[in-house]
């Protein structure tokens, strides 16, 4: 069942008129469609600046899309402020990258978890509130509960803080959870536990989870399907295993080849791959064509449409379209 969906989302950021006149808009996200299903972890993978966080914020209604729609259980929502926004936030929650910045250093864990319970009207009494907070801590494995309830953020490690952030997101009983690089600031030995927790929550509570990351290897392990994004556009999508083992789009292949891999046997080739384009002035046609090893003449003029590859896989690539 599709819980949360983005259809043809586009976001252009316009800069204020500056001293040198109007600057061109930054085309951060262009024509992105994405569906999150209940009980399923989907990954959105891309490098920094590719627009993956913008997609997260569009889905969370942090700001309105330039065009395109966000659908919650099949209904178009526009809820950017007031009661509509609050009711939307009860269903769709965000988790951010930096657990050191997302918790108020002056408040105890109990406060962070009790607040959403109160604001969204889930707690009936003080005793009930305490009970719910304890239950939340238990769900994110911060036990013994009594010990963690009265801790301040600085008394917790990075992984524990991120668990508190996850518990806070769960407090409102959302149906969809958007995790924007939830483990990239954590130590390697801690990451696994937090990812397992997210996986378990999706599985047990039927949450629809969007796992946004730059690390395609972790997406292989924790997501059922992966969507790859480059310079504001989607380039490829499919089941995690199929996509990482036989990528179709040249950018996905470059991403896979570049990821650190101790098992690599191929000799080091010396080739410079360039860098992603500026989104204020993106290249025409396929945005990857200036770096693409197999670019065709058509790639620089026309944006490639979606080519279905079967088994739930698709890509935006002229080379694939030609076969």
């Amino acid at each position: 069942m599709i819980v949360l969906e983005g259809r043809n989302l586009t976001k252009h950021f316009t800069a204020a008129r500056g001293r040198w006149g109007r600057r061109p808009p930054v085309r951060a996200v262009e024509d992105v469609s994405l569906a999150l299903r209940a009980g399923r972890v989907s990954a959105l993978v891309g490098e920094s600046g590719c627009g993956k966080s913008t997609v997260a914020r569009l889905l969370a209604q942090v700001y309105p899309a330039t065009s395109g729609d966000v659908l919650l259980r099949g209904e178009v929502v526009r809820a950017h402020r007031g009661a509509a926004f609050r009711s939307y936030r009860r269903q769709v929650q965000l988790i951010f990258q930096d657990p050191f910045a997302s918790l108020n250093p002056f408040h105890r864990v109990r406060y962070h978890l009790a607040r959403p319970l109160r604001v969204h009207g889930h707690a009936k009494s003080d005793a009930h509130e305490r009970e719910l907070v304890a239950e939340l801590l238990e769900r994110v494995s911060l036990t013994p509960v009594d010990q963690f309830m009265d801790k301040l953020p600085h008394e917790l490690s990075g992984g524990q803080r991120q668990r508190v952030a996850i518990a806070r997101a769960l407090a409102v009983r959302p149906v969809a959870l958007i995790a924007d690089e939830p483990v990239s600031m954590l130590d390697v030995s801690i990451r696994l536990g937090v990812l397992r927790l997210l996986e378990k929550l999706a599985d047990e509570s039927g949450l629809a989870l969007l796992y946004i990351t730059h690390d395609i290897a972790s997406a292989r392990y924790f997501a059922e399907d992966i969507t790859v994004m480059y310079a504001g556009r989607l380039v490829e999508s499919g089941p995690a295993e199929a996509l990482t083992q036989a990528a179709r789009h040249p950018y996905t292949r470059l991403l896979l080849e570049s990821a650190p891999d101790p098992d690599r046997v191929t000799p080091r080739e010396r080739q410079r791959h360039g860098e992603p384009p500026s989104l204020a002035d993106p290249p025409g046609g396929c945005r990857f064509h200036p770096r693409c090893p197999v670019a065709l003449p058509v790639c620089s003029t026309t944006v490639p449409g979606r080519t279905e590859l079967g088994d739930g896989r698709w890509t935006h690539c002229w080379e694939a379209a030609g076969d």
Binding site: Q160, V188, S189, Y221, T244, L254, S258, A259, E269
Partner: protein, 334 residues
């Protein structure tokens, strides 16, 4: 053979509640021309160790014990910890250069790239003429893959990857014997990171400098290093060739790290991870600091701290391996 020998190095951070032993009793060799990977989680002391070797520590950090010996190609030696201000100035850049994670932000925003390379050359190689310096600066930029016309460009005109390359170019300016790279690519995207790693490998082959490459990313180290030292709670727990660590990690911590990160190829093996959290260095666990998280820990682990002992292919500080070390020593002796 060794270009740098660290012996029993200890670094403390003085705090109100007593001294924190950020680096304790570290003994490590850097061989000429090798890439030595230094792996560890945040707080394991890897950056403190690097800064101690480069003499960059400031209070409240202080070196409390040990020695650092630098061996030049001509056979002379220098005690790095005893260098005076003038000698230190000659030692840095010419013999040892450092590239930081934030190197791309350490460039002066109001000076051109060219003038910043020129600064290093002017101060440390005063016998070069202005023309020779300009030519050298252009050459350096090209070596790291930046077009020479960028010499007149400002840092903000370059992308993060290009700025990091420029920082590497400055480190190379005086052909140092050792370059310490502290998370040089962590802030960069994987594709850019890959290109820069290729560049570092190629430059090393050309110039023959040794690299200490510090990162928390063990999978990256496995690929680029000759040898790897793994640090935990301020101590080196295992040293070995990259191959030995990958195929047969001996310390349970190394093994845990190796089985913590997902792999892209091959079967999806189960990830073990490491339970618990890294220790608080203000009150580290007694005995082996890793024992509360170790799945192989036994009673003796909490009583006595294991020493770093030789094993085939490296050294390891774990009581599970104490027998193995004795065997090798016996074999080598016979």
């Amino acid at each position: 053979m060794n270009v740098l020998e660290v012996r029993g190095l200890g670094v403390d951070y003085q705090s109100a509640t007593g001294a924190v032993h950020a680096v304790a009793d570290v003994t490590l060799d850097l061989r000429r021309g090798e890439i030595l990977g230094l792996a560890g989680e945040s707080g394991s002391g890897k950056s403190t160790l690097a800064n101690a070797v480069a003499r960059l520590l400031r209070p409240p950090a202080a070196i409390t014990s040990g020695s650092v010996l630098y061996r030049r190609r001509d056979g002379t030696e220098a005690d790095v910890l005893a260098l005076g201000p003038k000698q230190l100035r000659a030692f840095r850049w010419k013999e040892l250069a450092v590239v930081f994670q934030s190197a791309m932000n350490s460039l002066n925003p109001v000076a051109t790239i060219g003038s910043q390379i020129d600064d290093v050359l002017r101060i440390h190689a005063p016998d070069l003429s202005r023309k020779a310096r300009a030519a050298r600066a252009a050459e350096l930029l090209q070596r790291v893959g930046i077009n020479a016309d960028r010499l007149r460009g400002y840092p903000h005109e370059l992308s993060g990857g290009m700025r990091q390359r420029a920082a590497i170019a400055i480190a190379l300016a005086l052909n140092p014997e050792i370059i310490i790279m502290d998370e040089p690519t962590t802030a960069l995207d994987v594709v850019v990171q890959r290109d820069i790693l290729h560049e570092i490998g190629a430059l090393r082959e050309e110039y023959g400098f040794a690299v200490v490459f510090i990162t928390h990313d063990l999978s990256l180290l496995m690929e680029i290093s000759d040898r790897i030292a793994v640090m935990y709670a301020g101590r080196v727990v295992e040293v070995g060739t990259a191959r030995a660590l990958r195929t047969a990690p001996r310390h349970p911590y190394t093994e845990g790290l190796l089985r913590s990160f997902p792999r892209l190829r091959g079967p999806r093996e189960e990830l073990l991870g490491i339970p618990g959290t890294p220790p608080d260095l203000r009150s580290p666990p007694p005995g082996c600091a890793f024992h509360p998280r170790c799945r192989h820990a036994f009673d003796g682990c909490a009583d006595e701290r294991p020493a770093l002992l030789p094993v085939p292919g490296g050294e390891v500080a774990c009581r599970l391996n104490e027998g193995a070390g004795a065997d090798t020593a016996a074999r080598e002796a016979s």
